[in-house]
């Protein structure tokens, strides 16, 4: 066992973790643990943009952004948090620019912005250009820029260290345990505070835009330690994933004018969202695609539709919709614009589909994308441990792993990047303040014992079921039964199946017994985390008998504000679970029906 001491340890080096590290390290001594090299974090894949009401191209206000966020989240959003996020976003995007982030530019040299799903001018109800972008690699640029700044500020990184356990003693966080992948050593980090920024867990599903590394380790550990997870039933399916592979085609494609086309050649979104059409909110579109496919209107009757961004198609619909440039001329797009604004998307299509998006439509299907729920926190990243908003001293979280909740039942495109930087910063600052006020708590005896026990159990078996087989079954059942559409029957079935898989997991077998870079062992350990999250996701989904945002129940198709305008909080108690509820914070915006 190797011992380290830092005022604060940040787990995860994506956008949220790096932002927190940057701010916390200005005040206190921090160490950043990440199971991937920081630049490999999934923030780097975010494509379309980061939302902020800069108003560089047309009138915009952060209040409009807040309203869009709340409406997009189907009113399950905590409105105070959303207001903070949308207000702070403006300053933070400028701050990112000052750090060197190479945004695309308007002709007069300002940050360029583009329209994105669900972002509107609240007066005219028309799409507004709010997503600040750097081609279709905004997340890549954010990740790079933040990592660069961390290097400049000499932040201490522990690259390829996997977080395994949180150490809590005398009612507060005293550190954590991590596994050094290269050597197989356990490291105990003695700290006053631990900050979770481990991202999402899309790998629970079969077709996902998420990285292999997104397995929800931190929330699973929190759950096992008896701390709650919030709103786990809300998981976003992004409407446009590459058919079968799940690789994401950004909403930016539709922002540039791309349209969805069914097997009959219809632009079907005109029926489901007459105003915003293809730029309606994600849950609305995913559901529409699913309904089209279910009605046999997929391409050739199969389970996918087309996303069409060919200039002739786009320009035809621009005319049909009467789309205009700011100077009043009709809006137009050319093949060169597509190459220029969406170079990576064009590259994905050519590489993985052999389809040239300028000449052919792209086959797409909804793909598991974003966790709205997660570790509950307040607006300063403090982890909340019960329905009365009590905090666990020294525990912080931000980014996709956290649930503030600014995304409610459905996250608006571009809002995740906003969430990362806004709450990463706020959390980092709050944590530094906390560290300056308290002393180190005593470590518990044998702090690494529990982790060692888990690993030894996995390593000791000489035969058993392979982790891969269990994982595959879990992903299949989650896709089929806990996907875009859910029913009581599907969910109950899923629960049974997952419990059965958890049972099999007791027997999982790890072939690699070595210490050096043992990814076989880590994958098996991660599977344990995923199974726990799969179980609570199905459980919470079964529990919520309404349809709201990303959670669509065929058997309860209506939103039910009377009974369900509240957050789910799920707790593990022994082998059972308890579900509690937390009210939604409402400031100015009363729930209304959502029409796009």
């Amino acid at each position: 066992m190797i011992y380290h001491k830092h005022d604060a340890v940040i787990v995860g080096a994506g956008g949220a973790g790096l932002m927190a590290a940057l701010y916390a390290s200005k005040e206190v001594n921090v160490g950043v643990i990440s199971k991937l090299y920081p630049t490999r974090s999934h923030t780097g894949t975010a494509q379309g943009g980061i939302g902020a009401a800069l108003g560089n191209l047309e009138e915009d206000h952060w209040e409009w952004h807040a309203f869009d966020t709340i409406k997009g989240g189907d009113y399950l959003v905590d409105q105070d948090a959303a207001e903070i996020m949308c207000r702070d976003a403006v300053g933070i995007v400028l701050e990112l620019e000052h750090m060197g982030l190479p945004f695309d530019r308007t002709p007069d040299g300002k940050i360029s912005q583009r329209p994105f799903g669900g972002h509107t001018n609240n007066v005219t109800k028309q799409p507004v250009r709010r997503a600040c972008h750097a081609a279709d690699r905004t997340g890549h640029m954010i990740l790079q820029t933040l990592y660069q700044q961390c290097i400049k500020n000499n932040v201490q990184f522990y690259d390829e260290f996997q977080f395994m356990d949180l150490l809590v003693n005398e009612g507060r966080v005293v550190g954590c345990v991590a596994y050094e992948i290269k050597t197989g050593e356990l490291h105990v980090f003695h700290a006053k505070a631990v900050f979770f920024a481990t991202g999402g867990w899309g790998r629970l599903w079969n077709v996902t835009s998420n990285a292999h590394s997104l397995t929800g380790d931190a929330p699973a550990v929190m759950l096992r330690k008896g701390y709650p997870l919030e709103d786990m039933e809300f998981f976003q399916f992004h409407p446009t994933g590459i058919y079968k592979m799940g690789i994401l085609i950004t909403e930016g494609v539709r922002g540039e004018g791309g349209v969805l086309i069914n097997g009959l050649g219809e632009r079907f979104m005109a029926r489901y969202a007459p105003t915003l059409k293809d730029l309606a909110s994600r849950d609305v579109i995913s559901r529409a695609i699913y309904l089209e496919i279910a009605a046999g209107r997929g391409i050739n009757g199969q389970d996918y539709v087309y996303l069409d961004v060919r200039p002739e198609t786009v320009n035809r619909y621009f005319d049909e919709d009467g789309k205009k440039n700011p100077d009043g001329t009709p809006r137009r797009i050319t093949a060169a614009d597509i190459e220029k604004k969406l170079p990576d998307i064009a590259d994905f299509c050519r590489t993985y589909l052999g389809v040239d998006p300028v000449k052919q439509p792209m086959p797409i299907q909804p793909t598991a994308h974003y966790a709205m729920g997660g570790i509950p926190t307040d607006v300063d990243g403090r982890v909340i441990v019960d329905v009365d908003n009590s905090v666990l001293p020294g525990a912080y979280a931000a980014g996709e792993v956290a649930c503030v909740s600014v995304h409610g039942a459905n996250r608006l495109g571009t809002n995740s990047l906003v969430d990362l930087v806004v709450f990463g910063k706020r959390g980092g600052i709050a944590m530094a303040q906390y560290c300056k006020q308290v002393d180190y708590g005593p470590l518990p005896p044998n702090p690494e014992a529990e982790t060692r026990r888990q690993l030894d159990a996995l390593l000791s078996r000489t035969s058993g079921t392979s982790a891969a087989a269990i994982r595959r079954s879990m992903q299949d059942v989650m896709m089929r039964n806990v996907g875009v559409f859910r029913t009581e029957k599907l969910l109950t079935e899923a629960l049974e199946k997952i419990r059965d898989l958890k049972h099999q997991y007791q027997n999982v077998y790890v072939a690699d017994k070595g210490k050096r870079f043992n990814t076989d062992l880590l994958e098996a350990w991660e599977l344990g985390c995923m199974l726990d999250l799969a179980e609570v996701t199905a459980l919470c989904a079964l529990n919520r008998t309404e349809s709201r945002g990303g959670h669509a129940r065929d058997d309860y198709p209506k939103r039910d504000d009377v009974n369900w305008l509240k957050h789910t909080m799920i707790f593990k108690q022994g082998d059972n679970y308890r579900i509690g509820y937390k009210p939604v914070v409402i400031t100015k915006y009363q729930p209304m029906e959502r029409v796009y």
Binding site: T45, G100, T106, R137, H140, Q148, I151, A211, G514, D520
Partner: protein, 234 residues
């Protein structure tokens, strides 16, 4: 379709020297090589070790030598590789295990070139620093780099001499040298003007041929060489 993967295996914990493992897998033509490697790891030999994460060519984890050439395993499809595929770790960095190499020397070089914007003027209040689209365009290509190390580990100058700062680090330096907002041009050019800096580049183009982000690395290096010769950025 059935293919044979020949994978160079080496676990210093127990192997004296590297050996070739042969594995037969059934794949779809459109499968990535990464999928095929996963099939081996998940269903045949759990000890096979590699790095990967995003699975679509964006995170830069899985650079390896595929049929003799540097590729990202997730960005090459089986149908383009033939029936017999050889896979080796990238060259010029110490092997930790199988396809995993020690990336630290690579990142150390990245850190050595001061990979961050240096601008000591206070930023303008309440707005961005302005930059014309033309100025932004000058360094666009080099902002795409994902630090996968394909380029550096395909460069004969780097294999020969590990002190060579390498194409990836030069690409990163280029990204700042040609950013109109950066003020440390002279300092950066001094770094690049080192004996183990840009002058070690022999315009081999291996880097360009294998960069998964299709960055024109040799041109970026050429831009930097020229800037040094001309005593600054024009």
């Amino acid at each position: 379709m059935r293919v044979t993967l020949r994978i160079k295996r080496f676990n210093p914990e127990k192997d004296e020297k590297p050996w070739w493992g042969e594995y037969e897998v059934d794949v779809e033509p459109n499968d990535q090589l990464l999928d095929a490697l996963h099939k081996v790891k998940w269903y045949q030999d759990g000890t096979l070790t590699l790095r990967r994460s995003c699975a679509h060519g964006i995170c830069g984890s899985d650079a390896m030598v595929v049929n003799g050439r540097n590729r990202l395993a997730c960005k090459v499809l089986m149908k383009d590789l033939g029936k017999k595929v050889t896979v080796e770790p990238i060259r010029g960095l110490p092997v930790i295990k199988d396809l995993v190499v020690d990336m630290e020397p690579f990142f150390a070089k990245y850190r050595a070139i001061k990979p961050y914007l240096i601008n000591n003027d206070p930023p303008p209040e309440g707005r961005e620093r302005l930059q014309s689209p033309a100025d932004r365009e000058r360094f666009d290509d080099t902002t795409k780099c994902i630090l996968c190390a394909c380029c550096t580990t395909s460069c004969p100058s780097f294999w020969a001499n590990g002190d060579y700062v390498g194409p990836a680090a030069i690409v990163q330096a280029h990204r700042f040298i040609f950013d109109s907002r950066d003020q440390a041009t002279a300092e950066r050019l001094d770094i690049m003007n080192d004996m183990m800096g840009v002058w070690r580049c022999r315009t081999v183009f291996n880097c360009v041929e294998c960069c998964p982000r299709e960055i024109n690395i040799t041109k970026a290096i050429g831009d930097v060489k020229k800037a040094i010769l001309e005593g600054g950025v024009r």
